[in-house]
Subunit: 163 residues, 4 copies
């Protein structure tokens, strides 16, 4: 029941502290910490395919078309997409109804993996299980909950994805 | 769709390095790192109820009866149990068929949470999703995979739960 | 040979990731991670006294007067000051020649303590030893080296304090 | 004022959790985490030379002769030795008076570097400064304090090196 791929698009999960600018930045294009996250998780099976490296606030319709294209073209039926939390809801609604018999699960993190004490491992661990157990469709998994595209909503006060 | 509780029983997940004996030990009875793990995961919703604090190699039939009793008595329908990996398969088979309409998911870790670079967050994150998405029954979730009681088996060579 | 105090002033060492603004920020006034750093270092002896909580780029002559006042008034003869790296050189030169028979050592970090994989523990560990072993005067200790006030200089290319 | 080398001999600092035996073990001979510790500390200057990889309780007179030989033969005048805490006092007294005009500083850790929340970086940071600031002789630096060979003593109750 593997048949699972992780597509990475950037977002907070993959940011790190930059000494020179003293800010959080994404690495060079297609650089992702997801393989290291999986190594620590001791789960070596999902293939990881970086498709872009963006702050999700910079994501345009063209980027969402590119993500949809990647979901369709990969051979796996179960797809996890790592994504910034800022516009995860928009991408979920964009993909909704267009992904055929695939189970697609968006996830991300509120604190970068590279900073430690991050929710990244917990969220990706949940998304990988959701992608294997849920029926075809588009979902988001954040902080222990499964959301349908209409229910994905980051609470700006708590910084969490609450129902 | 919360209605979820985490019962903790000890195991590697909750061990830590002891300066004096230079070995890995469990804390005092009922001490667990799961609340701290959930804080980092930024998922505050599951209630955590410690029921014992044991290396799973020391677990007896009486302990398994105690776990079963706790599963039955808690009001939640979705139950995650943190458990040592050494005898997780025995407890899964012990519980199998006795838990009514509850969804029960065993999980644990191969490296203690307190040592960093642990699979604990990833595994618990997966188990929490599995407990909400799978039909009633007994399962184990380890390192990105869902196992039925007959399929739970730690590979002593790889230290992983492989199919 | 203790007779040592740590005065904290803020700087990168004490910044942390803020979920809402997605930037690195200092906590509320006088909040510092130095006591937690000392707990991990298992060195409980230095008294920690927060005197301000500033990005060192925002530090004015008035703040430097306040630091000098604190150095003079504390009863300890050996003083470590945690400080942002951006203007550590200016504060070192400001204090130089004004601190009597005290040994004063400035230190800081290029990556926040709270982000993990930080140089904070290493730098503070070095500064505490320098404050006990060097003759009276003003110094900076960063990344394994001792600098006199004239030699404190952050290399903007390497992000290190090179000779 | 560099002219500094770090000789590694093993000890708790370099242990890690082993999944299969569930205990703390040293890696293969001459494997050490000190280069990674220095990378995080952003201090690239000290040469690191592994000379053995032992639990210090297994250290014999022959091993101490080997350490003394290494101290004498390296070209650097300032020498830090990473060492297990169990017999650091014996090695300090063995080396005392035999190291000519070199400044030799023993250090170690009470919690392995690889387990996180370790005192290793703090201790090595202090030892590197001590080796540059103290006159020739043999010392130990642990948890913020400098000890002469006669004063090195691990308190079995607190797990610290107290005066």
């Amino acid at each position: 029941m593997e048949n699972l791929v992780i597509l990475t698009t950037g977002g907070t999960l993959d940011k790190d502290h930059d000494t020179f600018t003293e800010s959080l930045v994404l690495g060079a294009e297609n650089v992702t910490n997801v393989p290291e996250l999986l190594r620590i998780a001791r789960t070596h099976f999902p293939r990881v395919q970086p498709i872009m490296s963006l702050d999700s606030l910079d994501m345009t319709e063209a980027h969402r078309e590119q993500i949809l294209g990647a979901v369709k073209i990969v051979p796996e039926q179960h797809v996890v997409i790592t994504h910034g939390t800022g516009t995860m809801d928009q991408t979920a609604r964009f993909l909704d109804g267009k992904t055929g018999d695939k189970t697609v699960v968006l996830t991300g993190a509120l604190r970068p993996f590279a900073l430690g004490k991050s929710d990244a491992g917990f969220n990706v661990g949940g998304a990988i299980i959701a992608a294997q157990t849920l029926p075809p469709g588009v979902y988001a998994v954040m902080n222990g909950r499964v959301f349908k595209p209409d229910g994905v909503k980051k609470d700006p006060k708590s910084g969490r994805f609450d129902l």
